[in-house]
Symmetry: C2
Subunit: 276 residues, 2 copies
């Protein structure tokens, strides 16, 4: 196979398997090529990704070595995307009765989810995440998009027990927006003990749901590696969690004046983009 | 930019934007290269994808022309994957009380979802799908994976009304496994009138939930382009829908003997893989 064809296939192969170590002999065999040629191919790939600041090709030396594609976006991409996203959220037709915000279009848009997933995966690229956790329903899209770029499983806590999940562990938490004690649960087999878990959700008002997920992680003898939400309602000051990231911060919703104000959240300042 | 670098970037760019028409002048400008060079690059890409039977690069001629990457898997890939998936489902530890089957691990595995999404997107690659629809909760992963490869939005019908979705349209349907009338709803703004909708779900026993989604599609003056489920329980003979595809067919579950039997579903025989 010619270099040009190898490069096409190699790019596709690596992109489909983020964070997965692929050995040089594997590629050498796949393309019936010398290891030195494969090394040259990979350095072209690495260089191209770095030039665009939209991915890292990591070389692992030694007998058990190989290469690994790390989805990773540069700060410029993050700023551009989050500024655009915040301005799209500043659309008065999104305001729902009760001061809620309609986001289902964004959470059902695969191009947005790709960008959001890549961004969250950039932040946690080197955090040794074992699983992404969310709670049904709207957080699922976010969890799936993130898990895809970290190449880890995602698990969904549920607010109601289901016969199709078997034995579960359940916790109670204070749902601050509803001002009542709620319950969420996760199948016992969904998460291994000792996992390092990234918690994601679509929207954070008081943060009650997030405390529920923190409890759930603890029940599985696991640790919370981080908490990241798509949108936070910054005007709700009684937050039950403090160590979290938001991609977009909604600073004000005026249902009477039909006004909604949004800007990039603390994700932008709290993420280390220095690998480029 | 050299051809080798162009090929890496072009492969990544096109893979990230399936079914999207990219004009030749766009690439010519992006790489500061002649259109004839870009054409040669694209024919290398096309040839490589076709050789692997894992994608189609479609050329659209004329002034408004360009290229389009169509995720499309060859029959060999489909057979291999579905045979493997069926054998993994034939695991007695998946059997839950009541004859239900635990599938959350597969529905939370991003590599499985990639393959499943690519397969369903192969079947409907040329069916002019406008949106993918599912119903909460476990179908969401499937809808998202499929929508990603068709580059269309996905929408989630809900069994319970939510304040974060605004006005909704609701329908009643017979949930056969529960033997009662249930309700599902979709935000009015989630789906445009006249859409061509692909309905997907994780598991089909009697098909009641699928009839609910069919009703919902009708309420939006839209058409059902197809119905595709991950698993069907073939031993449940009272199906309420007949025109559907399943990736995997579970032919028998014996809870006493701890036995579960699965095989590739009718998806394999009903899909036209002849474009390779």
């Amino acid at each position: 196979m010619k270099r040009s064809e190898r490069l096409v296939d190699m790019t596709k192969y690596l992109m489909e398997r983020p964070h997965t170590l692929i050995s040089l002999p594997f590629f050498a065999k796949r393309y019936d090529a010398a290891k030195s040629s494969i090394s040259e191919d990979l350095s072209i790939l690495k260089h191209t990704l770095a030039g665009n600041q939209d991915g890292i090709l990591e070389t692992v030396a030694g007998a058990a070595g190989g290469v690994r594609y790390i989805p990773y976006l540069g700060k410029k991409h993050a700023e551009e995307y989050l500024t655009d996203l915040a301005s799209r959220i500043e659309d008065s037709s999104r305001i729902l009765p009760g001061g809620f915000v309609y986001l289902s279009d964004i959470l059902g848009n695969t191009q947005d989810l790709r960008r959001i997933g890549e961004l969250i995966a950039t932040k946690y690229a080197y955090a040794n995440i074992d699983a992404v956790m969310t709670v049904e329903t709207k957080g699922i899209a976010l969890a799936q998009a993130t898990a895809r770029y970290l190449d880890v499983p995602f698990v969904t806590a549920r607010k109601r027990s289901k016969v199709t999940e078997g034995a579960t562990v359940s916790v109670n938490y204070i749902s601050s927006s509803l001002d009542r004690v709620s319950k969420m649960e996760l199948p016992t087999r969904a998460l291994k003990k000792g996992s390092n878990v990234l918690v994601v959700d679509d929207f954070m008002k008081g943060g009650g749901t997030l405390t529920g997920m923190e409890e759930l992680v603890k029940e599985f003898d696991s640790t919370v590696a981080g908490i990241c939400v798509l949108c936070e309602a910054d005007f709700d000051k009684n937050k039950l969690v403090d160590d979290y990231l938001s991609l977009v911060k909604i600073s004000n919703i005026d249902t009477q004046k039909k006004l909604i104000m949004a800007e990039p959240g603390n994700f932008l300042t709290e993420t280390d983009f220095s690998r480029f």
